[in-house]
């Protein structure tokens, strides 16, 4: 099963309206400059409580059937997924261990062999279902802003 790239692109662009409004109000930097039919990626810059900057990449191929792959990258986006790019408080693999992150699933090498990617919109535990791009940005904003330091 796959999703045509134009469907994913249209869905991402539609959902990014709310994500952009949220990011602007929260003082986050949302970069959609790379978003095209050839690259369904966008980036968000967050700050933790110490003022350290963190850059998250959202790769949205086959969205919304499957969740995006969300990964921390460096400012120039030449390095990704290393401990020093992660804020404290995330899974030590390292991984953003949420259903909205494709990397968290066992079939993608993540820690959750008990999750199915098709169920990504389900809530984690008894919390709210993080099922839109704006909610993903908000979830990360809340976690990172209240954290201190890096994982390495």
């Amino acid at each position: 099963m796959s999703v045509p790239v134009e469907v994913s692109q249209q869905t991402v662009q539609t959902e990014l309206v709310a994500a952009a409004e949220y990011a602007a109000a929260a003082g986050l930097d949302l970069d959609t400059g790379f978003l095209s039919e050839h690259s369904l990626a966008f980036f968000v810059r967050f700050w933790n409580r110490d003022g350290d900057q963190f850059y998250a990449e959202f790769q949205c191929e086959e969205y919304p059937l499957y969740p995006p792959t969300v990964e921390f990258v460096n400012k120039s986006r030449s390095e990704r997924g290393t401990l020093r790019l992660y804020p404290q408080g995330f899974h030590p693999t390292p991984c953003i261990c949420m259903r909205y992150n494709r990397k968290a699933y066992g079939e993608r090498g993540g820690p959750h062999g008990d999750w199915r990617m098709l169920d990504w919109r389900l809530p984690t535990g008894n919390g709210i279902a993080i099922d839109t791009l704006a909610l993903m940005v908000s979830d990360l904003h809340s976690k990172i802003r209240q954290s201190s330091g890096r994982m390495a």
């Binding site: 409004e21 109000a25 909205y100 535990g125 008894n126 809340s142 802003r145």
Partner: protein
């Protein structure tokens, strides 16, 4: 702090005599903006006496946008500043028209 001082700190007129008694807020959430105009079908509007606690604003914004899950974490921000639920709008010198942000955090795996 004496009893009188405690009472004074809870009285917005005494603490901030130049502030209006009522403020009209805007609250950005991941599901949209809550304001005097939006969403059109909102059951309440963000108009508050400045003696209102932050937790009341959070509760009302959750109600408007149907954030019903109790186990999620809801935090109100003014820019980069986290607003403590038990403090009042007056204690933060929140002004009329201020834009706040409600962040919503999902559960942890």
């Amino acid at each position: 702090m004496t009893v009188d001082q405690v009472q004074d700190s809870q009285n917005p007129e005494t603490e901030h005599p130049s502030l209006p008694h009522i403020v009209h807020l805007r609250v950005q959430t991941p599901r949209g903006l809550w304001s005097m105009q939006e969403p059109k079908d909102a059951t309440k509007r963000p108009v508050y006496p400045i003696s209102t606690k932050i937790e009341q604003v959070i509760q009302d914004a959750r109600e408007v946008f149907k954030f019903v899950e109790q186990d999620s974490k809801y935090t109100l921000f003014r820019g980069d500043e986290i607003l403590e639920p038990q403090r009042t709008l007056a204690s933060y010198k929140i002004e009329d028209g201020t834009l706040l942000v409600l962040s919503v955090q999902g559960g942890n795996a």
